[in-house]
């Protein structure tokens, strides 16, 4: 998709001043009170957010109603743009779904330039809507929704694969209450063993779309209707006039708009959907740039919802909690990298001095990053987070043991830092009002 969104006139001086001010605050704090305390403060924020989620997770879950006697008709819409590698599998999974009625499948070809149109033409029982020019995902989805005959519409990304009963459970979740406008699914990483980056993202998806999604649901505070698959009540979708076509994270914006209109969002942990995720850092950067910039953009758009009692736990906890956690991640990453650079500079100077006088000792006992007491304190603070991870793995039917340690280590010290820097880059681009190119 080549949609381009212009955010306004760039302001590099303001951006530079903001960046210098933030960096100065962090580095000044480290030099005055020490990196341990600077790193402890964001950890306490993360601890609080995790504990709220954990307590929510163990709240009494509402009793599930009996399966409905009659299921509404379902339309599945897939936006397709250059998805020749995945579209056939995605549609095949939709058609193999276990649903009481035949599913209406609409594929919206958003001016693909690869062999996607030919693949779609071969598939039987799929209505294909072809856009003459590339209009972007949100517009493609809206165009598809206009043709939908079902009372319930599921939007499925062209690189996402639904499990057999995913739609059935999601529709049951919607039917639990008339005020529910959408039901989200348990999104997982497809083919997680394909690359290390996928393996690490697997943890993120288990926690984000598993444990955190269920906890958010129990708080009635789900704040995204994930792009890979979300099921909507058609009346709710129409009432809020579909997706915002000028928003780079239409799935996030949709959730916030549903809430603004008083609709609830359910979560169906039994609705399992596997999705393709980035295999390279560059691709991950592009994806996260879109997510985080979209989030920053939408928080400005919906700033009145922040700390607003009217929106319950969503306004009071989920929105501020989510941003605090991300800000905490940024502070942690900056401090961690600062510490690494400082130690590297120390080591370089030490080695140079040692070599200059011809006595090189490899005993680097004075080089430790942190002491035993800091490690002991950190170990206590991460207990709830490890427990949340254990619960996430449990939700995914996976065992959580020593075999996950290398994956966890990478997630914490490499992936977490990298993703936080992506968040910083998104923040800088938003402050600078850089144009967003959606390729």
């Amino acid at each position: 998709m080549s949609l381009e969104i212009s955010a306004g006139k760039p302001r590099p001086i303001v951006t530079a001043l903001v960046v210098v001010a933030i960096a100065a605050i962090i580095f000044f704090s480290i030099s005055r009170i020490g990196y341990f305390w600077v790193m402890l403060a964001p950890n306490l924020v993360l601890l609080l957010v995790t504990l709220v989620m954990l307590f929510a997770f163990f709240e009494k879950k509402p009793e599930k109603k009996m399966a409905p006697k009659d299921y509404p008709r379902l339309t599945v819409i897939l936006p397709v743009h250059n998805a020749q590698e995945t579209i056939e599998k995605a549609i095949e999974r939709v058609r193999n779904s276990d649903y009481p009625y035949g599913i209406e499948v609409i594929a919206v070809d958003d001016a693909s330039t690869d062999s996607s149109p030919q693949i779609l033409a071969k598939l039987k029982g799929v209505k294909v809507l072809t856009m003459k020019k590339n209009v972007g995902k949100a517009a493609a989805l809206n165009a598809g929704a206009k043709l939908a005959k079902g009372e319930v519409i599921a939007f499925v990304d062209a690189d996402s694969y639904v499990e057999k009963t995913a739609f059935k459970h999601a529709v049951e979740a919607i039917l639990e209450d008339d005020e529910i406008g959408a039901a989200t699914c348990f999104i997982r990483v497809a083919d997680a063993n394909k690359s290390i980056l996928r393996k690490v993202q697997e943890i993120e998806y288990y926690t984000g779309f598993g444990f955190a999604a269920l906890a958010s649901h129990l708080l009635d505070a789900i704040f995204v209707t994930p792009g890979p698959t979300t099921v909507f009540r058609k009346t709710a979708f129409e009432k809020i006039h579909g997706f915002d076509e000028h928003n780079i994270t239409e799935d996030l914006e949709m959730a916030w708009r549903l809430r603004r209109h008083g609709f609830g969002i359910a979560y169906s942990p039994d609705s399992i959907v596997y999705t393709e995720v980035p295999d390279t850092i560059k691709a991950l950067y592009r994806q996260r740039l879109r997510w985080y910039r979209g989030k920053l953009f939408n928080v400005r758009k919906y700033s009145d919802m922040l700390f607003n009692k009217k929106y319950g736990n969503f306004g009071l906890f989920m929105l501020p909690g989510s941003f605090s956690a991300e800000f905490a991640g940024i502070v942690l990453s900056f401090s961690f990298v600062y510490l690494l650079f400082r130690q590297a500079a120390w080591l370089a100077s030490y080695l140079a001095s040692s070599l200059a006088v011809g006595t090189l000792s490899l005993d680097l006992s004075g080089f430790a990053l942190v002491g035993t007491s800091a490690i002991a304190m950190g170990a206590v603070i991460v207990i709830p987070w490890i427990f949340a991870l254990y619960l996430s793995y449990g939700m995914a039917g996976r065992k959580f043991g020593l075999r996950q340690v290398p994956q966890l280590f990478l997630f914490l010290f490499f992936y977490g830092t990298v993703v936080s820097f992506f968040y910083c880059a998104s923040f800088i681009k938003e402050v600078n009002r850089s144009d967003y190119k959606w390729k």
Binding site: G34, F36, W37, L44, L47, L48, L51, V52, L54, F55, A56, E59, L219, D220, K309, K310, Y311, G312, N313, F314, L316, F317, W346, L347, S349, Y350, S353, S354, A356, V357, G358, T359, L360, S361, D363, S365, G366, A368, V370, G371, T372, S373, A374, A376, M377, G378, A379, V380, I381, I383, P384
Partner: protein, 219 residues
């Protein structure tokens, strides 16, 4: 939409409890280290007192026959004090909750007393081989050169049985006796060494030190 105030309160209390537990665990770990060092320092204090008394006895009774006993005592104490110095310096940066200042002050004062006792012994027993070396390093400020100099001295202490190293912080203002030492030996920056009453500024390699203080190779 129901706001779950009770849940937030529970989470806040749990976070507070975990924070308190975490600080307690950290404090316990540090207290263990502190206590181990304190015990070691008390042992050294006893040995230093003994050495001082032996020295005093020798001077008052002109009993040079006790020189070898005193030399042995001083050698043992020097090994111990040097290991305490290493641990104190490592713990200084790594400890978050415990203040090591009083322990450090106690250590440095004792080390000075010990150094002066050694000088007195050298004079009264006329031992020309013994080489006391003063090492001034930066304690508060980053000093990788000081760490490298420390490794040079570690190596020299192992190679030369007659070397005795006494380390003092160059950038600690609270201990007036250190200021006196620095002024006397014209020490301004770190790392600096005082070898045979000669002050060497900047990092020194093994040959430079050995050129000023003949080494008796360890057998």
């Amino acid at each position: 939409m129901e706001v779950k105030k009770g849940l937030y309160l529970k989470a806040a209390l749990a976070a507070l409890a975990l924070f308190i537990i975490s600080v307690s665990v950290g404090y316990y770990v540090e207290a263990q280290n502190y206590s181990a060092l304190e015990t070691k320092l008390a042992d050294i204090e006893d040995s230093t007192q003994t050495a001082l008394l032996v020295n005093l006895f020798m001077q008052t009774h002109n009993a040079s026959s006790m020189c070898s006993a005193l030399e042995t005592e001083l050698s043992d104490v020097e090994r111990e004090t040097y290991s305490v110095y290493t641990q104190l310096e490592q713990n200084k940066g790594m400890n978050i909750l415990t203040n090591y200042d009083s322990l450090r002050k106690k250590y440095f004062l004792m080390n000075m007393r010990f150094y002066l006792t050694l000088r007195a012994y050298k004079q009264s027993c006329g031992d020309p081989t013994l080489q006391p070396i003063l090492f001034f390093y930066n304690s508060q400020n980053e000093c990788p050169e000081c760490a490298a100099q420390g490794k040079v001295l570690d190596s020299l202490r192992q190679r030369c049985s007659n070397y005795r190293v006494y380390a003092f912080p160059n950038d600690v203002e609270q201990i007036s006796m250190i200021k006196t030492f620095k002024a006397y030996y014209h020490v301004a920056t770190a790392p600096s060494l005082v070898v045979n009453d000669e002050t060497l500024t900047g990092i020194q390699g093994e040959p430079q030190v050995m050129a000023r203080a003949p080494c008796v190779q360890t057998t």
